[in-house]
């Protein structure tokens, strides 16, 4: 695939992504899907490509007209049968716009880089990827696609994405459920400043449908430790509430509270067989790809 000039897709990232095989697993899924004929008849199925017959393939899938012409056995593959769907939920609430004094990227930008790379990886392996941008509602929904054009659309959408209002992940997940028809991987990228119980309640339908869910908890380093400041007026980026406090004096308590929150998320995730990974924006997002491959 050719490199792009999009902001969130860097050539060095593309080079690095070549080492990842998100698509291989997806191909197994596709075979299985193909193998176990989809019950979704009547749905829009797009011809994908011809590929040579290999022993073990279902003879019913052999295109005999091609055989007649070429005397070679080829299978006709379709999208439904061959690709995994990757659904990216990108939190675009106001809190994701936070960028610490020592950080180069805001959480949204960091997450956008990751989402862009993931999209590229999925599409490279001919899988489908969808993108949902949400805050307290779904702001943008790009249905699954696997073409270059779709990738460009995703990248463009990401570039034009700005932090929005308050966070409500549970609301977004609930509203998105009808939009996502096929199971696949559900990648939620957020700062998860929300109630874990509500989050996992909204994830239940997805889990029930067999989605593989990955929760990537993105935080800025300053969010993890609170800044070294004296008396400061904190302003909530989502609610505009104000609170005057001494961050220095509350560091420990803040850390403890954050650790408790993470622990809760991790416990919920473990119980529900959900993958949970915290990450700071000063770390490499490629560590997340290790969890996906």
């Amino acid at each position: 695939m050719a490199s792009t000039a999009h902001r969130f897709l860097k050539p060095e990232d593309i080079l690095r992504l070549n080492n990842y095989e998100f698509g291989a697993k997806a191909m197994v899924e596709g075979y299985l899907a193909g193998k176990h004929r989809s019950k979704q008849r009547g749905a829009s199925i797009e011809f994908h490509e011809y590929r040579p017959y290999t022993p073990g393939d279902d003879p019913a899938l052999v295109d005999w007209r091609v055989y007649a012409r070429t005397k070679r056995h080829y299978l006709r593959t379709f999208e439904q049968e061959t690709n995994l769907e990757c659904h990216i939920f990108l939190d675009s609430s106001a809190s994701m716009g936070f960028k610490g004094s020592q950080s180069e990227l805001s959480k949204l930008e960091f997450s956008s880089f990751f989402a862009a790379c993931l999209s590229w990886l999925v599409i490279k392996h001919r899988d489908r990827v969808s993108l949902q941008l949400f805050d307290d509602k779904i702001r943008t929904f790009l249905p699954p696609g696997s073409t270059q054009k779709h990738l460009n659309e995703i990248l463009t959408t990401l570039e034009g994405n700005e932090p929005g209002g308050e966070t409500s992940l549970s609301e977004a997940l609930t509203r998105s459920a009808p939009l996502i028809k096929r199971k696949g991987s559900l990648i939620v990228i957020s700062d998860f400043f929300d109630d874990p119980t509500a989050i996992f309640q909204s994830l239940s339908p997805y889990l029930h449908r067999g989605f593989k869910i990955h929760l990537f908890h993105i935080l800025d380093p300053e969010e993890a430790t609170l800044p070294d400041m004296n008396l400061t007026r904190f302003i909530d980026m989502e609610t505009d509430k104000r609170l005057t406090l001494h961050p220095k004096h509350l560091k420990k308590a803040w850390k403890e509270a954050l650790q408790d929150h993470r622990r809760n998320l991790r416990q919920f995730s473990t119980r529900r067989n959900v993958d949970y990974a915290p990450l700071l924006t000063n770390q490499s997002y490629f560590t997340l790809f290790d969890r996906l491959t």
Partner: protein, 671 residues
């Protein structure tokens, strides 16, 4: 106590400690804004920590303000003063007079160190620590003196003077020393102070009144902590004061026991080579007398020395006296030129002179010009007799005779009011008897048991009628039956209203007449001025030769330790005197004329100094204190800079602020 600031030009800096409060207030109203992703957790945390966080923040603020305040006060030079009125004294000149007792009692040792050494050591320490601008030392002794004429700034010389000084075995003229110290301060300005170092011996200080003056401060530093035990010879007397050769001399030495236990002491007498020793018991805190009876066998001036066994305070273990032993008494009889029965008096006296080997009698009809006999008998004492040229040391035996007016008697008895015409001659052909009126008089001791009869046996037919002598005027030794005084002492002389002539009385024929006259003459003579004189240590001694010195004769004064002293000759109206050059110490001083001892001068330890008990100096005016308190007070008077304490407080507040800030903070876990 009060405080004052030395660097008031930085006073505005006192506002600086308000800065943290202002910053806090301003910060609270206009803190920097920080957009944060979510305040949900922070709100919960604030709720949980508000209970202790706010007081902690307040305390931190307080410590910061206090730390700043401590720093500012250090810069301002905060000084602690003892009295707000003494603010000026912190910079004013100071003059200190050290008034130091160096009398004999200060030689007493307490724990191996004498009181004087303790006093001088404390004085040196104080001089060093107080560091006055001007100072002087005034010594309390018999002749108070100061080291400098006026207070000076050279303290090191005063310190040297303290190191070299010694106490003297003499009493102190305390009031004179105080006056001298006060006079030293008159020319001074600024802060004036007298610091008195003494043992405050009760026997010498109890009557002292310290001066009260608002112009200076008087402080007392007692240097005695305990009373050493002491036995002392406090007096030495002998009788008769001018014995004759062969006449028993009774020497009485008084020993005082200044201890809480009865003591037994050997008392040793040395009289011109004659030695005796007695052991006596002295009750606790009491006195006892040792009596010695010695019969001198040669005439002349004999030194008497009495000693105790030496103790820790040995200056008062010796006492000295000098006794003049005479070969004989001299009596001059002045008889009238008329040859009547009274002329027999002269004969009777001459007969007495022959009968008494120790009596030399001379007679004349006129009064001799420069009479120097022991006695002068005036057989007719009337208004016509001029007694003025008579030598003072002569005892007059005055037989009153008409005409004698009360005014003549008043010469000897000014207080005796005698009416005019009360004095008149009287006679009785049968004669009068004379009765003893003062049987305890020493003259009558021999007659006490009646062995020698009545000293006034016989009858007396002629007398001068006199009114009775009041007790306050004189002592009537004997009187006629009707109360007319027969023999009376008028001061140092005697009224001899007794007729001795055979025609006028039968007294001289009585067997008791001779012994009485002998006893009377032995007891009636008086000591001359200067005779038996004892000096107290500290005073200058002097000697006056009785006669003109031969040409080329030299007078030498030898101290008791055989040291030759230089004596000074003085011409006084009463004659020439030789005086010692400086203060004397206890002992016997010899006056030598051309290498021959002609006189002794005993110098004795001042007995008032022997009782080493001290009194509570609080009874005296002025503040009683000790050297350490005075140093501290002086520092406070000068002002104690508090910068060290303030810096310590600053460090403490900063430490507390830091500890409180870090309270409940744990290290961050590794990322």
């Amino acid at each position: 106590m009060s405080f004052f600031l030395q660097n008031t030009q930085w006073l505005w800096a006192l506002l600086i400690p308000l800065l943290p409060i202002l910053v806090h207030l301003i910060a609270r109203t206009m803190p920097p804004k920080y957009h944060f992703s979510s305040l949900t957790f922070l709100t919960e945390i604030i709720k949980k920590t508000a209970r202790w966080q706010r007081p902690k923040d307040m305390l931190i603020l307080l410590f910061r303000c206090l730390a700043l305040l401590a720093l500012i006060l250090t810069i301002l030079g905060l000084t602690l003063l003892s009295d707000k009125d003494k603010k000026e004294s912190a910079t004013a000149e100071s003059t200190t007079i050290l008034l130091i007792d160096r009398t004999a009692s200060m030689m007493a040792k307490e724990g191996g160190t004498s009181r004087f050494e303790i006093a001088t050591q404390k004085a040196q320490d104080l001089l060093l620590k107080l560091n006055p601008d001007h100072a002087n030392i005034v010594w309390i002794d018999a002749s108070p003196e100061a080291v400098y004429p006026l207070p000076g700034a050279n303290l090191s010389f005063l310190t040297e003077a303290l190191q070299k000084a010694d106490p003297y075995p003499e009493s102190g003229h305390i009031q004179a020393a105080l006056q001298l110290a006060l006079s030293q301060l008159q020319s001074s300005s600024g802060k004036k102070e007298i610091i008195l170092f003494s043992d405050f011996q009760e026997s010498t200080w109890k009557e002292i009144k310290l001066p009260e003056n608002a112009d200076f401060t008087l402080r007392k530093i007692p240097v005695s902590t305990k009373v050493p035990e002491n036995l002392a010879l406090t007096s030495l007397n002998y009788s008769p004061t001018r014995p004759l050769i062969g006449q028993p001399l009774l020497i009485q030495a008084t020993i005082a026991n200044y201890t809480g236990d009865a003591r037994s002491q050997f008392v040793t007498l040395d009289l011109g080579g004659i030695r005796q020793s007695h052991e006596i018991e002295i009750p606790a805190w009491s006195e006892a007398e040792a009596l010695f009876s010695v019969t001198p066998d040669k005439a002349g001036t004999l030194p008497i020395s009495v000693s105790l066994e030496p103790d820790q305070f040995s200056g008062d273990d010796h006492r000295y006296a000098v006794v003049n032993v005479q070969e004989s008494l001299t009596l001059h009889v002045q008889t009238p030129s008329t040859s009547d029965s009274t002329g027999h008096e002269g004969e009777i006296w001459e007969a007495l002179g022959k009968a008494l080997p120790w009596l030399e009698v001379t007679a004349s009809t006129e009064l001799p010009a420069n009479l120097s006999t022991d006695f002068l008998y005036l057989s007719e004492w009337s208004d016509a007799v001029d007694l003025t040229p008579l030598e003072k040391n002569t005892t007059l035996l005055l037989r009153p005779s008409s005409p004698l007016s009360p005014s003549s008697l008043k010469t000897f008895t000014p207080n005796w009011e005698i009416p005019e015409n009360a004095l008149a001659p009287s006679q009785d052909k049968d004669g009068w008897q004379i009765l003893l009126k003062a049987p305890k008089h020493p003259s009558f001791t021999l007659f006490k048991n009646g062995e020698f009869g009545n000293p006034f046996a016989g009858t007396f037919k002629k007398r001068l009628f006199l009114p009775s002598l009041p007790e306050e005027v004189g002592l009537t030794l004997a009187s006629y039956e009707d109360g007319v005084p027969a023999l009376a002492r008028l001061g140092n002389h005697y009224l001899w209203n007794l007729s001795m002539a055979r025609a006028e009385s039968s007294w001289s024929d009585q067997s008791s007449f001779l012994p009485f006259i002998g006893e009377f003459l032995l007891n009636a003579r008086r000591t001359s001025e200067g005779e038996n004189l004892s000096f107290t240590a500290g005073s200058q001694i002097s000697w006056s030769p009785k006669a003109e010195l031969p040409y080329g004769a030299t007078v030498q004064l030898i101290r008791h330790d055989s040291l030759l002293l230089e004596s000074k000759k003085e011409i006084r109206p009463e004659g020439s005197y030789f005086t010692s050059p400086y203060r004397t110490t206890p002992g016997l001083y010899h006056w030598k004329l051309s290498n021959q001892t002609v006189s002794y001068t005993p110098v004795n330890f001042p007995s008032a100094e022997s009782d080493l008990r001290t009194m509570d100096p609080n009874f005296l005016l002025g503040e009683t204190t000790d050297a350490e308190t005075l140093t501290r007070k002086a520092s406070l008077d000068r002002g104690v800079p508090l910068w060290k304490w303030l810096l310590l407080l600053l460090a403490l507040f900063l430490l507390l602020e830091s500890l409180l800030s870090n309270l409940r903070k744990t290290p961050l876990p590794a990322a």
